[in-house]
Every structure is written in C-alpha cells, then in structure tokens.
C-alpha cells in the first residue's frame, strides 16, 4: 500500500543533442557527419511526495529541475525509471490524470495569445468539463485573490508579464488540480508581485490541500513557501529534507556579526578572525563552528562591541557553495 501522491523511482531522462561547431563550416560538417552527445538531464532520481505537501525544487540552471517536472506532468517520456502521480503513469496522458494536474511554466505562455484571458478561461471550462456553478465560484475566488478584475477583457499579448502570470495561474487552477507543478512561477516578476504570488501559492496549498512542487531560482520563494526542499545538481538529487537541515548539514561555519562602538584599526580586526564583511560600524566574522565560543569571547574582550550576534550563514550562501564544486557529503 502506498498513498504517496508522487512517487519517483530511479528516474532517468537522457537527451541526444547534436553538437555543431559555430559558423558555416560547422554547419556543413554537421550536415555530413552529425555528432551526437548524450545529455543526462536527470540521472537516477528518486523521491516521494505526500498529499498536501509543498515542496521546493532547487538547483542551478540546467540541473534538471524543469526536465523532472516535465516528466512528472507527462510531457516527457522517461528514459528509464518509474513515475507515478496520483496512481497514474504520467506519460500515458490519460484524461483522468490530466484533469487532476496542472503545469505552469513561468517562461511559457499557455493562454491564447491573441484573445483576452477570459476566453482561455471559458475554453478551459469546457475542456475540463467544469460545471457552470463551480466555474463561476472558482473564477470569482481566483480573480479576487489575484486582483485581476480589470484585465480580463484585454488581449493577452497586451498584458504585462505580472498580469499575464496571474492569468496563467488562474487558467491552470480553474479545474482545481490536486497536483500542481510550478516551474519558475515568479520569474521576471518584481518584488511586490513575487510576494503576492508566494502568498497566493501558500494560500492555495492551505485551502485546497493541493500538492505542489515548485522550482525556482529565487531562494526567497523556497524559503518562504517550502518546508521541504529537493536539491538537484547535474541531474542528481543531492539533498532531500527540511530546509533547516541544509544549514546543519552543510554549513561548517557560523557568522559573528557585531556593531562596533568606535572605530578600530582594520589590522587589529583582521588579526582576530576571518573578516567576511566590514563597513563601519558593522563587522561580520566568519568562524568555524567549533571555534565560535572561543572567538566570540576574544572579540568581546578585545574590541569595543556595542552589539553582538551569532548567526547561521544565509541559506543562499550555503547553497551557492554547494553548487560551486563542493562535495556533497
């Protein structure tokens, strides 16, 4: 018995990409003898997601996040491995499966470009066979939540990116999908809009117990929305767990940040420990975990300290270090 909504076992997705040297000569060469290269976009990834979870999927560009989402939604046919979503094999694209999921891609437009968003909504109502009452109710709710009343009758191509993304979301949510795949839902949005999107996603997850898997470049999205994260790099899953565990597991240092009461010669500061940041009066030391108390004592003793804090390093830094060639122990 397995009640997981998403189950992925040893998923692999390889692409044959043909390589071409730049320029005309390269083009002719590739015409005569094509060189193919196998790209392992997703290489042996396994995880499960339970109902109602909101999971963040992070990794650098080209890590395989989007490819995984595309496999999960049934868009791509896996090279090897097993995927089950809501008990279906996604690539079979059964109607009953498609009716219960949605894939939103921040960089892709799924609305009808030349028509107002309302037309797409109405088409989706018919495509997903949503009863009139339910459609009206959901639509009104989504419109209010996302504050888009005034743009519903404007051609999609005339909308701003933020307006369009909101409408993309509405179109994707009209049929109340149980599983939602969001690929970079906040890409290109300004800070205010990002915040609104996040609030909305969080609310949607809470209200409908929807299972959501989202990818993002912005740590902010993940930090605010997801308790659990999957980190993927070069097609491999390198971390699966609570966001807070990342710090414990990978950070070998802490930060001692202080406010100085008066100016001190930079040389003295450097002698005490490794200075990470200094702009008077703020000073930040980066210290090995096991040396924190020793150095903190020294600092308090030798410097005119107005305020002192011992902090975990920001999650962004840890992940950046992870991605720039450190070993995943």
């Amino acid at each position: 018995m397995n009640s997981s909504v998403v189950e992925v076992k040893r998923l692999k997705k390889f692409f044959q990409v043909h390589k071409k040297e730049p320029g005309l000569v390269g083009s002719i060469k590739s015409l005569v003898a094509r060189q193919y290269e196998e790209v392992r976009a997703v290489d042996d990834v396994s995880f499960t997601i339970e109902e109602g979870e909101l999971v963040g999927f992070i990794g650098p560009n080209g890590a395989g996040k989007t490819t995984t989402l595309k496999c999960l939604s049934g868009l791509l046919y896996p090279t090897a491995g097993f995927i089950s979503v809501l008990g279906f094999l996604p690539h079979q694209r059964k109607s009953e499966f498609l009716r219960q999921i949605s894939l939103v891609m921040g960089q892709k437009n799924q609305l009808w470009w030349d028509l107002p968003p309302l037309e797409t909504f109405q088409l989706n109502k018919e495509i997903y066979e949503i009863p009139e009452e339910k459609y009206k109710e959901t639509l009104n709710e989504l419109i209010t939540l996302l504050e888009v009343e005034d743009i519903l009758k404007i051609q999609v191509r005339k909308l701003s990116l933020g307006q369009r993304m909101k409408c993309e979301l509405i179109a994707a949510l009209l049929h109340s999908p149980k599983v939602l795949f969001l690929d970079e839902p906040t890409i290109g949005l300004d800070v205010v809009m990002q915040k609104k999107m996040r609030d909305f996603i969080k609310e949607y997850n809470r209200r409908y117990k929807a299972t959501i898997l989202l990818t993002s470049h912005y740590m902010g999205d993940v930090k605010e929305l997801c308790r659990r994260v999957l980190i993927i790099d070069k097609g491999k899953l390198v971390f699966d767990g609570q966001l807070s565990e990342i710090t414990q597991k990978y950070a070998d240092h802490k930060l001692i940040s202080l406010i100085l009461a008066k100016e001190v010669d930079q040389k003295i500061l450097n002698d005490l420990a490794k200075v990470k940041e200094f702009s008077y009066p703020k000073l930040v030391y980066q210290v090995k975990k096991d040396e924190v108390s020793k150095i903190a004592a020294k600092v308090l003793d030798q410097l005119p300290v107005a305020d002192l804090n011992i902090e975990e390093p920001p999650i962004e830094d840890i992940i950046r270090e992870l991605f720039t060639g450190k070993n995943y122990a």
């Binding site: 868009l75 046919y77 079979q92 694209r93 894939l103 892709k108 009808w112 030349d114 989706n124 018919e126």
Partner: protein, 278 residues
C-alpha cells in the same frame, strides 16, 4: 504503451470542441486584414488560372477533350475545392512542435485530431463562404455557362468523395506536420509536398487527364488526385459510375492508411516530443 489522447470526438465532449471552434473564429476576427489578404491572394490565383484557360480556348469550343464550359467549370471547381479540402490548420503543428507550444495542447484532456479538426472546420466554413461569394461575382460578370450535373446521383457521389477527400487531406497534412517530431524542420517537406505533389498531382492547376497516359496511371496510384481531380471529374460527369465508385474506394483506402499513419506518428512522436524551451 498507448497514449490515450488520440480519440476522435467522444459524443459528450462536443461542447469543448464547439468552444474551440468559437475561439478560432474570434482569432480570425482579430486578424481580419490577414484573412482579407489571404482571400485576395486566393482570388487572384483563381483569376490567373481562369484567364489563362480563357485565353487558351480563345474561339475554340473544345480543347484536350474538354469543352470550354467544362474547363472553366473545372477551374471554378478548383477554387471551391481548395477552400473545402485543401486547407488545414494542422500546418501549425510543425511550428508548435519546434517551439514547444504544443505543450499547452498535450497536457489538456483533448483529442489531438478533434482539436485540429474543430479549428479546420472554422477555417473551411469561412473560406467556403467567401469563395462562393467571389465565384458568384465572377460567374455573374462573365456570364459563362457553368456546368451542372444532369443526374441526381452525381451530386451524391460528388459530396461523398469530397467528404472523404476532406478527411484524407486532414490526415495527410497532419502526417507531414508530425514529421517535425523528428526533423525539427518542416518547411522543406511541406514545400515539396505542398507545391510539387499536392498542387500538381491533385490536379489543382489543370486536369490530370491532359497528361500522358503512363504518367496518369502513376498519379492515380497516389492519394493526391482524389483530392481535387476526381471530385471534379465526377461533377463534370466525365467518368463512368464504375470509375467513380473505384475512385471512392481508393480514396477511402488512402484515408485509412493516413488515419493509421497519423495515429502512429502522433503516438511515437509524442514520446519523442522534447517540449523545448523553458
């Protein structure tokens, strides 16, 4: 493993395709100028062909076994059948595969053939309406005797073959577009298919029976002459009932082949689909 979205119009899902047709119509209304120019182009190419044959006949009453009124009826018939049969929005499929836009169709509970066919229907209805208008004007202005069949059964056979041909072209066009799953490049095949085979072998420039017999025999084996040439020959009552029935059977055979091919290519292609971009 079977990909299930190949179905063709399950009855209770009619409203979704009607809405799709409605949206297609609205798209056309957004690009009115585009449509007007397209009609203009079609009209001009019709007039060119029309005057070409008018000039060839000059004072002759008969040429290449065709009476003047028969030949001109053939030319008018070409223009009409172009809008009924030779036109499918599935040409866009190739581009959608390349750009990854197809994603928005394959991830919806939609039958892929029904999707394109409901869009085609609007395209055809609009074009038929305007073609009839244009042809009506030309026929009135030139006052030439348009050939109408004498027997009632001719109309029935004609309509039957036209319907078969319409679906044949639909699947043919779909197959050509689906090649983009593998080549990522569809214009060369479409051009070769569209211009050389289709226009020439279908008889969309001139009747095929003006060609040498051996070439005719080869062409009759291809699916193309059943799209334009045979329907018009039936209309002109220039072929026997037996031949007409044979044409219908061959056309139905080709229709079966291309339906099957379209299904297979779609299933295989959908596996191959890279969903590029993003």
């Amino acid at each position: 493993m079977k990909i299930s979205s190949v179905s063709f119009l399950p009855a209770k899902t009619m409203p979704k395709y009607l809405t799709l047709a409605k949206i297609t119509l609205e798209e056309y209304l957004v690009y009115r100028l585009n449509f007007v120019l397209w009609r203009f182009r079609s009209f001009v190419s019709f007039l060119t062909l029309f005057f070409f044959w008018l000039a060839i006949y000059g004072n002759r009453g008969e040429f290449l076994g065709y009476q003047k009124s028969q030949m001109l009826t053939y030319v008018v018939g070409i223009a009409f059948l172009r809008s009924v049969i030779l036109g499918s929005r599935s040409v866009d499929l190739g581009g959608q595969i390349r750009s990854g836009e197809l994603t928005k169709i394959v991830l919806r509970p939609l039958g892929i053939f029904s999707f394109w066919f409901s869009r085609d229907l609007v395209d055809k209805l609009l074009n038929i309406f305007f073609t009839l208008l244009e042809l009506g004007i030309v026929l009135t202005v030139f006052k030439f005797p348009f050939w109408f069949p004498t027997k009632a059964e001719t109309y029935i056979i004609f309509i039957l073959l036209v319907i078969l041909a319409l679906f044949l072209y639909f699947f043919l066009s779909f197959v050509i577009s689906a090649i983009a799953f593998w080549t990522e490049e569809v214009w060369a095949t479409r051009w070769l298919f569209g211009v050389i085979f289709l226009e020439f072998f279908a008889g969309a420039f001139f009747p095929i029976d003006v060609l040498p017999i051996w070439l005719q025999k080869i062409i009759y084996l291809t699916p193309f002459p059943y799209l334009v040439f045979f329907p018009l020959k039936i209309w002109l009552e220039q072929i026997s009932r037996a031949m007409a029935i044979q044409a219908i059977l061959v056309c139905a055979g080709w229709l079966g082949v291309f339906w099957w091919l379209a299904k297979v290519l779609w299933q295989k292609g959908a596996k191959n689909y890279g969903a590029y971009g993003g």
